[in-house]
């Protein structure tokens, strides 16, 4: 089963149009919920049953997150969608926004109904101009059809939705940095607690979910939580969009059941380019520790299987590297990224990411010192768990993963001032 949930309109011509979405049953479940006045608690229960976990990377159960909101608390509440897709290797939400924006809109309205929020924002990264225009066009269509605005379809429920455009900052994918950004500030993460469910956007109760999570909601409510859960495997309900890139023949986005063997995903992606040997896989965006290719061939694409190999499923961004890649150079580029994107708020991350990059850079440049590998271990350890948000951990994890599996390659660079891979 492929493209059954978020990409269910993908085979249609101009699938982003309202009429196309509706030809696949789009907005039917919203109509049902509103006319039956379905109990919000029942909706949250169904989402819990589905086993849907946050598709942005953290994997937190979506239904549980929703249940943290005090539904009957007076005053404004918000639904916020995180379309600030920026974890290197991830390009799935872009396709939802481009090809099935209405399903995201329907999911956000349903989420609003479930938590008692009447207003939503979709935070789209500023570089995503084409997806932004598609989404705006879909909002317009939805407003005209009476799916957004006051008293939706005569139900008495109001919901309106707007887009906020980012300005180029990876950190804004962190949910509280994203809220700060909507408030017109630098995107620096907030201390938690309080969590957004209690103190979110403009200080009001807020849920923030990833694009793919919210776009999964209409199908979960249409076909039932159990149906969704059964697509996947234990602890990993549903299907998932995997964005696979690197040294492969047919990179792209594939929506497949959780638990699908990696080897099958690689086959769908056309296999290795030029018949090269698979060397390593970064299974869940660049923060996910690397897994050697041979080991990866025996793993499945679900939370537990990947976690069992010491890494994480993350955003479902799979970067496949062949045997021409130098792991030192790969890590150097990743470490540069986290250094560049650290917001500068916490000392261990602001300074530590600089240390990580500079040390890996000197090893790559043939000026590594014998003590450098221990130094990298030490710096990574001193960042982990000591910062307000997860960017610090995200910078430390790839370093730890690379040293765990490819320490000999780093050592070779230090000993010989050059690369052991021909390409280096």
């Amino acid at each position: 089963m492929v493209n059954e949930v978020c990409l269910r309109t993908l085979d249609l011509e101009r699938p982003w149009l309202m009429e196309q979405y509706q030809s696949r049953g789009g907005y039917e479940v919203l109509k049902q919920v509103l006319t039956e006045k379905r109990a919000p608690e029942a909706i949250i229960e169904e989402v819990k049953k589905s086993g849907l976990r946050g598709r942005g990377g953290a994997g937190f159960p979506t239904g549980l997150k929703w249940s943290f909101i005090s539904r009957n608390a007076p005053g404004q509440k918000y639904v916020v969608c995180n379309s600030d897709e920026g974890e290197p290797g991830t390009f799935k939400d872009r396709d939802i926004l481009r090809y099935n924006p209405h399903q995201l809109i329907e999911g956000m309205i349903l989420a609003g109904y479930a938590i008692g929020a009447t207003r939503g924002y979709n935070y789209i990264r500023g570089e995503f101009w084409e997806p932004y225009e598609r989404f705006e066009q879909a909002l317009q269509e939805a407003r005209e059809a009476g799916f957004l605005g006051d008293n939706l379809l005569g139900s008495g429920f109001d919901f309106d939705l707007h887009t906020h455009l980012g300005g180029g900052a990876y950190i804004c994918g962190e949910e509280t940095a994203l809220l700060e950004s909507i408030e017109g500030k630098k995107g620096q993460p907030r201390y938690k607690p309080p969590f957004p469910a209690h103190f979110g956007l403009y200080g009001r109760p807020t849920i923030i979910n990833n694009t793919e999570s919210l776009a999964s909601i209409p199908m979960i409510l249409e076909k039932g939580g159990e149906w969704f859960a059964d697509i996947g495997v234990k602890n990993s309900g549903g299907s998932k969009l995997f964005s696979i890139s690197g040294n492969i023949n047919n990179p792209g986005v594939f929506e497949i059941p959780m638990g699908t063997p990696f080897s099958e995903l690689l086959e769908m992606a056309g296999g290795m380019k030029d018949g090269r040997k698979i060397k390593a896989v970064i299974p869940g965006g660049s923060s996910a520790p690397v897994i050697p290719g041979e080991q990866m061939m025996d793993l499945n694409m679900d939370y537990d299987s990947i976690a069992g190999a010491g890494s994480m499923l993350g955003s479902g961004a799979v970067i496949v590297l062949d045997d021409t890649n130098c792991m030192v150079k790969t890590l150097e580029r990743m470490s540069y990224f986290y250094h560049e994107e650290s917001c500068g708020q916490c000392t261990p991350c602001r300074e530590g990411t600089g240390w990580l990059y500079r040390v890996v850079h000197r090893i790559e440049s043939g000026q590594g010192r014998q003590e450098d590998l221990d130094l990298l271990d030490d710096v990574a350890d001193k960042i982990s768990g000591k910062t307000i948000c997860a960017l610090g951990d995200a910078a430390a994890l790839p370093v730890q993963g690379m040293l765990r599996h490819y320490r000999d390659e780093f050592q070779y660079h230090i000993d010989h001032q050059r690369c052991m891979v021909g390409a280096g």
């Binding site: 290197p88 390009f91 980012g166 890139s245 990179p251 994107e341």
Partner: protein, 167 residues
Amino acid sequence: MTVTVKDKTELFSPQICAEIDRWIAKYPAEWKQSAVMGALMIVQDENGGWLTTELMDRVADYLDMPPIAVYEVATFYSMYELKPVGKHKICVCTNVSCMTNKSDLIVEHLEKKLGISFGEVTEDGRFSMKEVECLGACGGAPMMQIGKQYYENLTPEIVDAILEGLE
């Protein structure tokens, strides 16, 4: 320094004011500041792709913000430019998926063709180059963005054709 402005509509052209007002309308009335990112982008586009201090001050006045709060935003996010850029700002991704698909060849080709490196502008002001982090199009690596447009699956030949097609 905040200039006291009697009439905000004097700060920008009617068209720019209307565009900024569209952003303001998306947020609660007491949160005009939320429109700062949209406003900076509009003003930057109008000014050939970069922001002057004077323009940032005007945005501050328009949104009733302290100028420093606007500078904080403009310096934090990578898409705001604080010095002149080319008419066509070429943003090349060099992150892992692009790197392993030879983004370095694209960078070299552009450098040779345009005679500039990252952070520089051609003498005629037509082009500037910028190294960017993952733009979320790794399936089309190597890729670049010029203006609002993504260009994917690049080769030096494709880059040539793209540049020739620009005004």
